[in-house]
């Protein structure tokens, strides 16, 4: 071998990636000793591998997000995973992350006892399933009454005099999603604002809801006016629910 001989780059890369047999690796080592440019390339590949490995290492040191863990472990409580329509996954805050774990809800309609056909601004009856869900359901754990209607609380946010919860009701029968913010400043919940969007425009048929809240962007100005703070962490939210929503 001479100093001018250049080894194939894919072979040098395979050496850097640990792909070669001991015999092949030994041959490359001998070659590199006499070929500084090839040695430099191997060094670069190894350095780039290391840089990439470190650049994306942050998740390794973090616990699994609760929403993802709920998706995996929480689904154990259900008979099956229900498919949701895909919606664009534009991030509006990690706090809006929502799990897909599905708990089967066996109670009456979310809108009972009044059973209005649509989400309405105003106080929520204390005996309704929506009120019960707002009081007790963690964010990211959907409730499904049946194949047609599902409710998902997206986040809990503190305001000056209490708390607000962002939620959505997916009505498959009517092909629509109602989004709402309900706030609790006394013993009752009040729907403060709602938005609706057609389900058909939310994505394709072969997907499911992801842990995002793009559609909630329309409600963000309202949250700003309320002076809502950052969404509570799962542990803080769980403690708040356990305390019955007292400060």
């Amino acid at each position: 071998m001479t100093a001018e001989t250049v080894m194939d780059k894919t072979r040098l890369a395979a050496f850097a990636d640990g792909e070669l047999s001991p015999e092949e690796a030994a041959e490359v080592v001998l070659h590199l000793a006499d070929h500084p440019p090839d040695q430099a390339y191997v060094d670069n590949v190894m350095a780039a591998n290391e840089a990439l490995s470190q650049a994306f290492a942050a998740p390794l040191g973090d616990p699994a997000p609760q929403a993802i863990e709920n998706t995996i472990l929480g689904a154990k409580q259900t008979a099956e995973i229900v498919r949701f329509p895909m919606r664009p996954s534009v991030w509006v805050g990690a706090a809006l992350a929502a799990a897909l774990a599905l708990a089967v809800f066996t109670g009456p309609s979310f809108f009972t006892p009044a059973q209005p056909p649509r989400l309405a601004v105003g106080p929520i009856s204390g005996g309704s399933s929506l009120s019960e869900a707002l009081n007790s359901l963690p964010s990211g754990v959907p409730w499904a009454q049946d194949a047609d209607q599902e409710l998902l609380i997206l986040a809990t946010l503190p305001i000056a005099e209490g708390f607000c919860r962002e939620f959505e009701v997916i009505d498959h029968a009517d092909a629509r999603i109602d989004l709402g913010i309900a706030c609790r400043t006394s013993d009752t919940w009040m729907v403060e604002v709602t938005l609706s969007e057609p389900l058909a425009s939310s994505g394709t048929e072969d997907g499911f809801v992801t842990a995002s809240g793009a559609e909630m962007q329309g409600l963000l100005p309202f949250l700003d006016r309320l002076g809502a703070g950052a969404a509570l962490a799962p542990d803080d939210e769980a403690a708040l629910i356990a305390r019955g929503w007292s400060h």
Binding site: V6, D8, K9, T10, L12, A13, A14, D17, G18, E19, P37, D38, A40, Y41, N44, V45, A47, A48, N49, A51, L52, S53, Q54, A55, F56, A57, A58, P59, L60, G61, D62, A64, P65, A67, I68, E69, T71, I72, L73, A75, K76, I81, R83, M86, P88, S89, V90, W91, G93, A94, A97, A99, L100, T204, G207, F208, T210, A211, S212
Partner: protein, 168 residues
Amino acid sequence: MTDRFRQDLVAIVPKLRRFALSLAGNQPDADDLVQSACVKALKNAAQFCEGTRMDSWMYRIIQTLWIDDRRRSKTRGAQVDPEAAGLNDGGRAARLPEDRMMLDMARDAMGALPEKQRIVLSLVAIEGLSYKEASDVLEVPVGTVMSRLSRARDALLPQLGMSKGPMQ
């Protein structure tokens, strides 16, 4: 589906989040990807062959979902905002400023790669898969893995201030 399946899936979530992060470029989208992949995995758990590598099986699901998502929203590139997206790791990965700069460049360079090159480079350089394992995940020949890797490095190394090697 067994409890063991779910426990094994939870155990590899950190690795799945790392892989998804290297593709998506930001942690929220990466977590969406992982969550969607977990739902799909649970739904198709019967297709998983016990005794085979669950991480490789999940890598395949994640990369498929990611490509599908990218095709649906071609106008959206990888949204890389180190501060907002959680890529800033508080200096855990790099203590020296020059190291942090290198890691930033690595993230930027990764985000600029074509999808297939980004995936194969992540599987080999970050996840540590062999070429054969990567070829199994991607269901392409080993030679394709090698050629995609080579093109990826030709594009990546100059962005890291490195030579892309001797001309062939």
